[in-house]
């Protein structure tokens, strides 16, 4: 195996591990956040965008 190929395969291995690890974490936590997003109580709460000061900077 050439040195160049070895370096790129190591970079691939690291990138793939990061990709799938983040994917696993995001899947678990994202499911909870999805339930919150779609829950009635959460939908009634005020959001950042609804606060009056969020658009003040533009005026």
């Amino acid at each position: 195996m050439t040195t160049g190929a070895l370096i790129w395969l190591a970079a691939f291995g690291l990138s793939a591990v990061v990709f799938f690890a983040i994917g696993a974490c995001v899947t678990v936590r994202g499911a909870r956040e999805l339930r919150e997003l779609l829950s009635p109580a959460r939908r009634m709460a005020p959001t950042f965008a609804s606060r009056p000061d969020s658009r003040e900077k533009l005026r």
Partner: protein, 478 residues
Amino acid sequence: VLSIGAGLRARRYVEDLPDYLVAGRRVQTSLGVATFVASEIGTVTFVYLAELGYVAGFACFAIGALQALAYTLVGRTGFIVAGLRRHGVMTIPEFYERRYTRGVRLLGALLLFAAGVLNMGIFLKFDGILLSEVMGFGSGAVAWIMALMLAIVVTYTVLGGMFSVVVTDFLQFVMLSIGMLIATAAVFAHVGPQAMSEAVARHLGDAGVNPLVNERFGGTFLVWVLVSNAASAAIWQPAASKALAADSPDTARRIYMVTGLTFAGRAMIPMLWGVAALAAFGPGASTTAAMPRLLGQVVPSGAIGLLVAGMLAASMSTYSAYLLAWSSVFARDIVGGLSPDALSERTTIRITRWTTGAIGLFLLVFGLWYRIPDTAYQYLFITGAMYTAGAITCVAAGLYWRRANATGAYAALICGAAAPAGFLLLERVRGQLPGWIAFVADVNVAGLLSFGLAVAGIVAGSLVGASGRDKIAGSMSA
């Protein structure tokens, strides 16, 4: 089927325009990352990245590293995305009117819409190639696969807007991750690293591991990749819509940073499939069909269903996000910009829905007849650059430079689109061009030139144009 059902059910959550376009601005980090990654990984992504791996070997992995760097930097610094989220806009062109004039918004929206739809034009074609190769259908089945998939996506996007996009993207993210894992394991089981290394060395030599000596890339191209990715990360409507849907500017930054960390894997995984296809078939196969053909052969029959479900999920999540992004720009910024009176929320949603359907129909026709210049990757970037070069300049100057004004914004948008548009027109007659203009037909030069022209445009236009036209000159500390 699960994601389609969930997408259709999401309709019940749409109560007003912010719900429809930015999911009520209530998306948190993990969900935002899942939707972001899902919408930026389509079957087309697999095909064009694997094509690069097939024709350029390991050298193309540098593109994945640069993309990860660009997106992570945007997330780390909050460059543009945090500022746009702070202003509470729903589309990028909306910012143009707040900072410059309605005319700038209209021009920016027209460019964004044209570049976005053109950019999306080849998605269906590549999806059809991959799915028909993996599933074993002939080329005649491609159009039917494309039409069916598009009809499903248009239906749930039209009904549920961003809520549908978020819900389906999340489910599709899980499916596509499983599909990518299966495909990668199967590829490694049949084509080992040693075989890949030997194939790259034999067929490509040094150009297969060093992007600087590879004639497809080189220093100019790599600089362009970094600049254009940083720009599109911050300003590409389907990507920026994830920041605009976040529940705060800090969440928007975090979504970008974590998503950026996945981008090296997002690129290198399909690129490796392409390198494996080179090792398996040699350099003589069709560049776009080699990787799908390999997957069709190496993935066990029991897992092929999961793989296809993952590919379909990847495609649908990309279509839905892009369709909503472009149709919302058309309704809110083009029709809204031309209308003398402000459009009601109900009318805006209705126009967005009709536009989504119309874009879907256009894509079906466009995807069948357009001949793609160079590699698909470069086509995607050049159509993207038509918009991003001018837009990143306008928005960055609008946020961070007090003297930027409407004259400069017009100049930046027009100059930024000129070089990529010139490329799309001139590359077809490359051989007949006089020497002094021939450089524009080089895809890398045209892409990089667009950013230089846009910056020159905003600076020159703002300095020459009348001062005091800024609508919100006092708010530029954002």
